[in-house]
């Protein structure tokens, strides 16, 4: 296992180093699909330059990173490339660990005798599971989206690293500080922090006092570490300007720079009267699925994390391909669901076609002037529909597998003919 992993790391580092040194690096750093106003490297450099001039980076509308990023890059700005590559390797190694740990806690192998006999082919053998961490690392490191995001030096890589660390610690069973860290670096995971941690591996029994004791403890420590980090951010610049600049910016979407998400054109064409209403609707939509998903998937926490990550990446206000790469990296973990997936071909074709069309239609709109914004918007819509299809397809396959595990794989109707399974 070590040798293929080392080979993989070497290949990934080589590709990134080659791209960093080439002239493509500047081109990629300007692509709107790869960077957004929230995580562009150009804006981090601008924020540091403003700090050097003696002006607060948050006094203008260019810099929207949390003050922790200023702390980090004040010293590391010359080593930016190495920092990003290291964070990538960190993410991949963390992602390696998670499935491994997750499978160690697999209960299926122990409870194999609970299932009907014909389900044995649904259960994965340890041999298959041996290669999954490597596949996960490969999916992440060699994903073109990840490579583009790393070469553009987008801080999305750092966000992904913290989220991956959070996932690892959650699976291990201890995950307090990473919650607050990921909140501070990346606004949206706040949604699933609360609901995940104490549902995870903790039997939820409302009547038991130890559950409430644990919740109280957890909430107290969470709020305490949140408070510490916010105060640290305050003491960097001595103002609370960063709160409206970072969190207010994510929530109120004033910057309508085109990206691969749904927000920009919607709010560019929104009637002023309804702007606040639709802003609230779209932001609630991101957090809306947390509770239902946690209730439905309370016994499958890893899949819950995957679903939550995917929903946030699709519906957030400034998505980039780096966010997509993180949840795509989880797909090899569910490779056993392949037989139940219904739209694989369609989804992969649409995703590939849209990824190819994004730069073409951008060029036609912005540089050639022969297309207009509707072309790029249409591809955005298609890309998001494909992502939604992918996520719901995996969810369907997962639920179906669970059904088959309890009711048997080859189902028969009352009269003995082959049954069809529908959602009712």
């Amino acid at each position: 296992m070590a040798a293929p992993l080392t080979l993989l790391l070497v290949v990934a580092v080589t590709i990134r180093a080659a791209l960093f040194r080439s002239s493509l690096a500047d081109l990629i750093a300007e692509r709107v699909e790869v960077v957004s106003p929230l995580n562009a490297w150009k804006r981090v450099v601008e924020g540091l330059a403003l700090l050097d001039l003696g002006i607060s980076p948050y006094s203008g509308d260019v810099f929207h990173e949390t003050p922790l990023i200023i702390y980090l890059f004040h010293f590391l700005v010359d080593y930016a490339e190495i920092t990003f590559m290291v964070s990538r390797k960190f993410v991949s190694s963390v992602l390696l660990e998670s499935p491994r740990l997750c499978f160690r806690k697999q209960k299926y192998a122990l409870e194999a005798d609970r299932y009907p006999l014909d389900c044995l082919e649904l259960i994965r053998s340890p041999k298959e599971m041996y290669y999954i961490p490597l596949k996960v690392a490969m999916f992440y490191l060699l994903n073109p989206f990840t490579i583009l995001s790393c070469v553009a030096k987008s801080t999305c890589g750092l966000n992904n690293a913290v989220i991956a660390l959070f996932i690892l610690c959650t699976i291990k069973g201890s995950a307090l500080l990473t919650h607050t860290l990921s909140l501070c670096l990346h606004h949206y995971p706040a949604s699933f922090l609360f609901f995940l941690s104490f549902r995870l591996y903790i039997p939820v029994n409302i009547r038991r006092p130890s559950f409430w004791w644990y919740t109280l403890q957890y909430a107290f420590m969470y709020l305490g570490s949140l408070f510490v980090i916010i105060c640290l951010s305050f003491f960097l610049l001595g103002t609370w300007d960063f709160l409206p600049s970072v969190y207010g910016f994510i929530l109120s979407v004033p910057d309508l720079t085109p990206n691969i998400g749904l927000f920009w054109y919607f709010f560019a064409e929104m009637f002023e009267h309804f702007r606040l209403f639709f802003l609230c609707v779209f932001q609630i939509n991101v957090f809306f699925y947390t509770i239902p998903l946690s209730i439905k998937l309370k016994e499958h926490p890893v899949f819950l994390i995957f679903m939550q990550l995917a929903v946030i990446s699709i519906f957030k206000s400034y998505p980039t391909v780096g966010d997509i790469a993180l949840y795509l990296a989880f797909l090899p973990v569910w490779s056993h669901l392949y037989r139940f997936l219904r739209n694989v071909f369609l989804v992969s074709c649409v995703l590939l076609a849209c990824s190819a069309l994004f730069p073409v239609l951008w060029h036609l709109w912005i540089y050639a002037g022969s297309a207009n914004s509707n072309f790029y918007y249409a591809i955005t819509l298609l890309f998001n529909v494909a992502q939604i299809l992918l996520v719901s397809d995996y969810f369907y396959a997962y639920l179906r597998r669970e059904y088959h595990l309890t009711h048997g794989l080859y189902l028969k109707r009352k009269d003995g003919s082959e049954a069809t399974l529908v959602l009712k």
Binding site: D61, P258, N285, L293, V311, Y367, T420, L423, K424
Partner: protein
């Protein structure tokens, strides 16, 4: 007894008049008008009108000023209501070509420009500024109501007060420019109404709009400032200057013939001076024509005057309109300048400071603003102050700012940068740059173009968005000693910018405004976009809702349509179904 009574009555009347005068606070007021005509080397002709009213009164004092004579009441009320210390407003059509025409007497940028110093008694400067712009918009029939916080800045070093006073807190200064503003007859008419004689007598009869707006450059301005009454400066009086600069083109107004007269330029001749004016003069620049070898000036005038203006000693032929003899037997004055031959022209003195600006780059995503400043002095270097106001939708990246002179990096000694806030305020960049002698200094900064909301575009969005001119202010070294004595009687055109020292004179240069295109959304699509995006969100919601709320069940197949109908009939009959 009768004599005594008469004397008493007279004394009483005099006392009463004096008391009334003292009570209403009417001080001495004085009105001067002048016209300067300067032939330019390209064959065009430059005419500059200046009308100056000086009034010894105190607008800021407790008593309300109510008796207006020469000073226009609308402006007086503006000064007292908004506690204005200095007001400078200009409306310009066209761009001043410094390299072909030399330096103007009073520079102005294309469009409308307004800068105001408020008194330090004002508590809410922004609110007062907003009211002031709206009132001025009404007075001048211009759309100055478009001045709001998104194009107003507070320069920290440029635009120091031009009148007396030692308030230097820049909190009380506001500067705004509207590069898109168009100047037309509707702006000229209220401007002419502010003059004491209106457009009925004096030099103002020449201002007819059909000729004035058929020109290469037209600029009208109003400048209000407090000045010293005498050299001891124990008391101040208010000065109002109205200036109108116009450049007539050789080919479009002059029909290609190099021969200019008052009638040809303005389609009017002068018949009398303004009776309310204490001095009414016309100056013709004859420095290049000492012996009359270049052009012939008729009617001839014996009066000659010399003045040092813009670092050059110029000679002027003077026509004094207050003398009846100037108008001759025809009772009308129509000066004629006829050029003798087109060869043998001497070189115009090269302006020492010159600026240019342009946008580089391609596409609608990014761009670069280049500002070039030329120093044509052969051996002296001098510092200049560059002021740049860029609207918020062109996001400047200050870490890409480079200043190079002669190929080498030239670090500015003072940078004041205020980043923009979306939809609230623009970028403000002020720099003090040392220009090396005989060189070009290039300032470049990169920007990114923003996509605006569809309601924020103008009705013609593909025309582009204007970026106001950069302002370059400098004290340029002068070869000729400037006149620093401010009390001497000097022509108006040489006394606008006060000279503090003899070896340099103040120059303000405005660069070209920029026209920048922004990416536009499709304006016909708001309803469609809302529907389509909500559809995609609904697709996501629908799929997840189905998967979250429904469970898998084995499906009983439903029979075909015929069988179903048969079953319904059988149920009605009470017979078991098929």
């Amino acid at each position: 007894v009768c004599v005594c009574v008469c004397v008493c009555v007279c004394v009483c009347v005099c006392v009463c008049v004096w008391a009334v005068c003292a009570m209403c606070g009417c001080g001495r007021d004085d009105f001067q008008e002048e016209l300067v005509i300067r032939p330019l080397h390209s064959g065009d002709i430059y005419a500059s009108f200046q009308f100056r009213t000086v009034w010894d009164t105190d607008f800021m004092g407790g008593k309300k000023v109510s008796h207006y004579r020469l000073f226009p009441k609308s402006l007086g009320q503006v000064i007292s209501k908004f506690s204005v210390r200095e007001l400078h407003i200009s409306f310009t059509q066209g761009y001043w070509r410094t390299m072909q025409w030399g330096q103007p007497f009073l520079p102005s940028p294309p469009g409308a420009e307004l800068w105001v110093w408020f008194q330090d008694t004002v508590t809410d400067v922004d609110g007062t500024w907003k009211e002031l712009t709206n009132v001025l918009s009404g007075i001048f029939c211009a759309s100055l109501n478009f001045i709001d916080s998104t194009n107003t800045v507070q320069p920290s070093a440029s635009f120091k007060p031009l009148g007396i006073g030692n308030v230097t807190d820049h909190r009380f200064l506001r500067y705004a420019t509207l590069p898109r503003e168009i100047v037309c007859t509707e702006n000229l008419t209220p401007w002419k109404k502010l003059l004491p004689c209106g457009s009925k007598a004096g030099l103002a009869v020449l201002m007819k709009s059909e000729k004035l707006f058929h020109s290469s450059f037209h600029s009208q301005a109003v400048h209000i400032r407090p000045v010293c009454q005498d050299w001891q400066c124990k008391s101040t009086s208010w000065e109002l200057r109205q200036t109108l600069n116009v450049v007539f083109d050789l080919h479009s107004s002059g029909q290609g013939k190099r021969e200019w007269s008052l009638f040809k330029m303005f389609s009017r001749t002068l018949t009398e001076a303004c009776p309310l004016a204490s001095s009414s003069k016309i100056y013709i620049d004859v420095t290049d024509n000492p012996q009359g070898e270049q052009f012939e000036l008729s009617p001839a005038t014996p009066l000659l005057s010399q003045a040092v203006v813009l670092g050059d000693r110029r000679t002027y032929s003077v026509y004094d309109l207050t003398q009846q003899a100037t108008f001759g037997s025809m009772r009308s004055l129509n000066m004629l300048l006829r050029w003798k031959s087109s060869d043998g022209e001497c070189d115009m003195m090269r302006p020492l400071l010159h600026g240019e600006r342009y946008v580089a780059g391609y596409g609608l995503q990014t761009g670069e603003i280049h500002t070039l400043m030329y120093n044509h002095h052969p051996y002296r270097a001098f510092p200049v102050l560059l002021l740049d106001t860029v609207p918020w939708y062109l996001r400047l990246y200050i870490h890409t700012l480079t200043v190079t002179s002669k190929g080498k990096d030239n670090k500015p000694s003072y940078i004041h940068y205020q980043p923009s806030k979306d939809r609230v305020r623009p970028h403000l960049l002020e720099m003090l740059v040392q220009l090396p002698p005989n060189s070009v200094t290039e300032v470049t900064v990169q920007f990114e173009r923003a996509l605006l909301k569809w309601t924020e575009y103008t009705p013609d969005p593909n025309h582009g968005f204007y970026v106001g001119s950069s302002v370059v202010s400098a004290l340029v070294p002068s070869v000729v000693a400037m006149d620093t004595n401010s009390t001497q009687e000097r022509p108006l055109f040489s006394s606008f910018f006060p000279s503090k020292e003899e070896s340099s004179y103040f120059v303000r240069i405005y660069t070209e405004p920029l026209l920048v295109n922004l990416p536009t959304p499709d304006f016909s699509m708001p309803y469609n976009v809302i529907c389509l995006t909500c559809t995609v969100v609904a697709v996501g919601y629908g799929s997840l809702y189905n998967l979250l709320t429904r469970t898998f069940q084995v499906e009983e197949p439903s029979p075909g349509l015929a069988k179903r109908l048969a079953n319904i009939i059988r149920k009605m009959r009470g017979v078991p179904p098929l």
